[in-house]
Amino acid sequence: MKRRSFIKQSVLGSIAASLTGTGWAATSESSVLTILHTNDMHSRVDPFPMDGGPYQGLGGMARRAEVIRQIRSQADQVLLLDAGDVFQGTPYFNLFGGEIELKLMSQMGYDAVTLGNHEFDNGIAGLEAQLPHANFPFIISNYDFSQTSLNNKFAPYKVFDKGQIKIGVFGLGIDLNGLVAEPLYGNVKYIDPVPVAREMVQQLRSLQCQLVVCLSHLGYRYQNGRISDQKLAEQVSGIDLIIGGHTHTFLNEPQLVDSPEGHATLINQVGFAGINVGRIDYRRGSNSDQLTPASKTVKVTN
């Protein structure tokens, strides 16, 4: 009994209890920061057609805009993020090259997006041509663009001041070799994400960020030894939240991974094609708050 109460009173323990126990609470009333996130939207501008498929009727960027508008009208501080692969998957991309996706994301007020491999599907020039349609930054920490025309177009990280909270966001891209035809990505150099992530954490902590968020297009996890969000969290300490993509993984709730030095890292990914938006609310926890495990109000697809 005594031991349990120690754990409960500990900060880490309370997070663990609220996350791995019965589930999650949606506590928008006391929330000081609301993170909304998507990944792998793959040019799915319109909802899936009603053709008997498993996702029929789901998604649609105009509906997503409405959801986000509603949340913004209630929530105090919103950070809207995407983990890449905005491009490719419907004829909207074949015909318009990503223009409509970026325009709509700009209207929705996306704060930061990282680069997925499909952002290179029309080559470096194809990506560059679309950048004027985005009023938000693409954040990528482990691609070296210095030998390309995109040099200095992307920041390795960005710090957001959202009310009382300072949030540091960095971005990790997947190795493009073998995934994208070489002529399309040209001289973009991929850098090992693990040391880059350590550097980013250090940098963002030194800038007094209370929350460090990684936008990752590495993929949730793999059976072979390839680097993934799971492996990243196990190897790099100090990331609070990994918003993942690439593997189109439908997680019903964020997964908690113990990082080195005991720092808890949350990983989340919400499928693909804009079928879901993930909503993470952060509230200030006092010691008494943390004794109460969160009640489960998770809304699940199907």
Partner: protein, 257 residues
Amino acid sequence: MHTSRNTILYPGLLWALFMMLMLQCTTSQRARLVPSYQLMPIDISYLPDSLAEATIQPYREQLLMSMDQVIGISKKRLTEAPVESPLGNFVADAILVQAGDYYSQKIDLSVINNGGLRAPIPQGPVKLSHIYELMPFENTLYILELNGAQTRALFDLLARDQRMAIANSVAIVQNRRATKIFIDGAPFVDQKTYTLAVSDYLAQGGGGMDFLSEAKVLATKDVKIRDLIIEYIKRLEADGIEIDAEIEGRVKLIPEQ
């Protein structure tokens, strides 16, 4: 029992307390933010935002004008899956048949990676937009000549990953190895060469097919893989044939030993 348990627990308690204090010191500032979560499905319960809808409308109209035409009828919904799938077989066949026309010769093999099949073919009317979603990439056609080792490497990858579709061949797979290979109905011969119709992406070694970048390039054709599929469907439609494919034993898994 009672006392012995306590003596084991006590040092553990002190250690836990120590660790918690350490954590409080190092992580207190950020950890005071307690997360909660809600998954929000974007479903029919939300009306579309009017500004977004107005922004989409001109693009959508243009898209429908060029993409809404029905090019064929599918007997059933074709989806991809590991090992062998109706959708994979259908696309591999389409590439093989149409590439033969572009090359003016019969081609021995075609291959497509499952990762390149991005959407199913729905049952019923199949629109141009469906094939763009199935094969959104702008990949073009390569005709390669594979030597025996390269051909074997292709079937070894098929046996190992089980994430690609082939046409005009059968592979017997055991313990994730291709133990027997038949191409165009005849047993595979190491000393022979085989022609392969494939996308530029795979031909250049993408999708884990590094060995294809070593193969002899017989021809590169300025036609997209997507257009091969579209032409094949139109051809079926002209002949009054519905789109359909089965799992027919192109990859035969023998129980592992």
